[in-house]
């Protein structure tokens, strides 16, 4: 088997295992990453929401915010894990297509 084939298989396994990155923090009651709090968490942490942060925080409405489908936030870990895997497939699919596109544009032909 070609090594790139093996690496693609490895990636597929990582995608299937990715919900570990969702379940472990939940299990150990770990919160957001440092400096990645939402506005309401910020209110709790420092007692106010910085004005500029409040304005900019909602600047962009991501279609799949935080790797979860909109409205699924309270659906429980198994559905969130499913959404996480789908997010990984979609995100990685687009990333791969863009990189291959850039690579095709830039790379030398032949060997």
């Amino acid at each position: 088997m070609k090594v790139t084939t093996k690496l693609w298989i490895g990636l597929a396994i990582l995608i299937i295992l990715s919900p570990i990155g969702l379940i472990l923090p939940e299990h150990f009651k770990a919160g957001s990453a440092w400096g990645e709090w939402g506005a309401d968490e910020m209110q709790k942490l420092v007692g106010y929401i910085p004005q500029g942060l409040e304005k900019l925080a909602s600047l962009w409405n991501a279609p799949i915010p935080d790797y979860a489908f909109k409205g699924w936030e309270e659906k429980g870990l198994s559905r969130l894990s499913f959404a996480y895997i789908i997010s990984a497939i979609v995100g990685i699919g687009i990333t791969v297509l863009v990189v291959i596109g850039i690579g095709k544009l830039l790379a030398k032909k032949g060997d």
Binding site: A30, W34, L56, W60, A62, Y84
Partner: protein
Amino acid sequence: MHIPDGYLGPTTCGFFYVVMAPIWTIASKVVKKTLNARQVPLLAIGAAFSFVIMMFNVPIPGGTTGHAVGGVLVAILLGPWAASIAITVALVVQALLFGDGGITAIGANCFNMAFVLPFTGYYIYRAISYNAPVDSNRRVVAAGIAGYLGINIAAALAGIEFGIQPLLHHTANGQALYCPYGLNVALPAMLGEHMLVFGWVEAVVTALVIKYLQKQAPELIEEGRI
């Protein structure tokens, strides 16, 4: 380490877009000169690997979460300029599609994770593994140290970017406009958690994949690639 929108003021956001513009330009020129068509799938795998490894959030029990970036590994295998492009694509997709990292902070996030991290990691690896045979353990150790230091230097920079915000932007009565934590909090927080936990994840992941490739595809480990 994905700085969201609203944590960095306009000066910092603009500054890092301006800094990244020539880096992206040089990266595409270098890659154009050196990348072979047959290496394109490997570059895509590198970007995909970085993307998925960043989804593996590791908890500090009762505290925060963090993750590896995988960027040092991509830099070791494809060179730092190609890695820079691969990680940039992953970070932009994460920001646009999943709101992971801010739109205004793409410049800063790419500077930390798609420039400083692969470049420092790459040159540390090259220095430690200098003249080592392809199958030597020194390469595995070099990869681990490079992963650990690369992500920690990037995390320290993110801490500094967070930490200078209260100095740059505040209201007349002293309330912060953006990130409210100064250097005395942000830098030790970002650096400390990466030195204690997330840096080790990057180190182990980088070293293990190099060890695996030494057996499976030693041609990928040879020197003087892109």
